[in-house]
Amino acid sequence: MSSSRREPKVLPVINDRTDSNAILARARRQASTRKLDNYFIVDVDSHIGDGAAWPEILQMIENEAVREAAFSFGGGTGRGAFLNDTPGLQWQSVGGRIPHGAGLKEPVEDKSVPREVALSRKAIESLALDYQVFFPNALLFLGMHPVREMEVELSTAYNRWIVEQVLPHEPRMKAMLYLPFNTLAAAEAMVKRFLGAPGVVGFLVTSTRYQPVHANEYMRLYAMLEEADMPIGFHAHHNWNNEYTRQLNRFISMHAISFVLSNLVHMTNWIINGLPERFPKLKVMWIESGLAWVPFLMQRLDNEYLMRVSEAPLLKRLPSDYMRDMFYTMQPMETSNLKLLEGTFDAIRAETQLLYASDWPHWDFDVPARVFDLPFLDDRSKRNILGLNAARLFNLEVPERYRSRDSVAAE
């Protein structure tokens, strides 16, 4: 046996200030080993930390009285002003076990661009991405804000910040903009204001809210989005404050249930009230509930629909048929039973409807190798899920170097 006395290279312990390139070094290696640089990859759900920029975002509030009041918070810094996060957010690091789960705190040397852009570029490099769709981190619970107008003020400021301060620096960054869904007129105004803004690829409803998505007031909003060929996304989040989830005494329990519960409710209303028949060209996507809930709901609704068809008269097909036409982000993908996962992929027509999403830097993020390593996918399906389905959904340009390898996604 040969022996080496050479001093080895030492790898550091990862903590909450470690550079994200170092945290994701093994993802970069996975990408190289699998030749993922030859794949067009779109990360459809990224939350590159916006917490540090919150005072900057507050400066974009258009109501002067609200803007000035914001800076009475946080000892005059505005930090955390007006946000209505639940305590659950503080549990994401599993008691400090997942350092980045508490947010990326690394120092950023590149001051030529906003911190979020610098961090985004690191993730793009490490995860071998071509595009990254940016989602608001700070606003995920805003639909539950007790001050209704605060949702409008903060989301308008946030959307301005993304469009004016972030996206112009990096063409690989795209955004789905927050809709203040609790105030219909403001939601419609948001679409009119930002439709066509460079880098805006869709609009977003945060699912944690008590607004029935089938209410008649929303039909004009959906028509606007359908007409504009803009996807609408429903992004799940946790909610530890309703009658059911308050019974759950551990974060794991609440997180596992509540990220699915809100989208179960919204999807059911969407289907049973026939919205796919009313807006057949509207692209609808469901974000961050994982995948296992979809075949569950398909079977549940199909079974009951056949017995109670009179309660869903707008439907012309089975509920599962409509659900199969929608788009789903994969993260956090449940993989403990690959047979069930393969069945899920089949049920949702993953080859054309599933979208890779990392959710980086959240504690349950998924790397692109997660898709690549699935044993039941052929190369065409991998390419579609990793990026080409997103290109079709968001009308993203696929660079020439990938074209010879393009797979044709179903229309």
Binding site: V10, Q30, W363, F365
Partner: protein, 132 residues
């Protein structure tokens, strides 16, 4: 998929002098593309590949924390969650998978294991044998 090794398997490589890794500490090294964490626990050295079986995260670069248990009283009522003295887990910093640093077994699913490497101690120095 196992990331391809770029080094001749079976080769013995130097890690550190024994005195350089105090009890309760670890050293994670990279040799020709192979990453290995060497842990010192109760005067014994253990070596594990820095490759989490979950998503390939840098498991050996995570926090070392005691395992926890939920204690029950005589009537099986919960007394809450507490550390277990003497039990030490290495926790993957990517997603929190926890492995017993002595056995390499996952704290919740024993069949899920870290890949180990033989450790050789010689003249106060620690060597590991790279995986075949």
């Amino acid at each position: 998929m196992v990331d391809q090794l770029q080094v001749k398997p079976g080769r013995e490589v130097f890690v550190a002098r024994e005195a350089d890794i105090p009890d309760g500490e670890r050293k994670v090294i990279e040799v020709d593309g192979v990453e290995i964490g060497v842990f010192h626990v109760d005067r014994t050295f253990y070596a594990w590949r820095n490759d989490c079986p979950h998503q390939g995260g840098p498991v050996c670069q995570g926090r070392l924390m005691k395992r926890v248990e939920e204690r029950l009283d005589g009537e099986r009522r919960s007394l809450g969650i507490h550390y277990v003295d003497g039990a030490l887990n290495i926790i993957c910093p990517w997603h929190g998978y926890e492995f017993d640093v002595r056995t390499g077994r996952h704290a919740g699913q024993a069949s899920l294991r870290l890949a180990g490497c033989p450790v050789r101690l010689r003249d106060g120095e620690i060597y590991v044998v790279l995986p075949a």
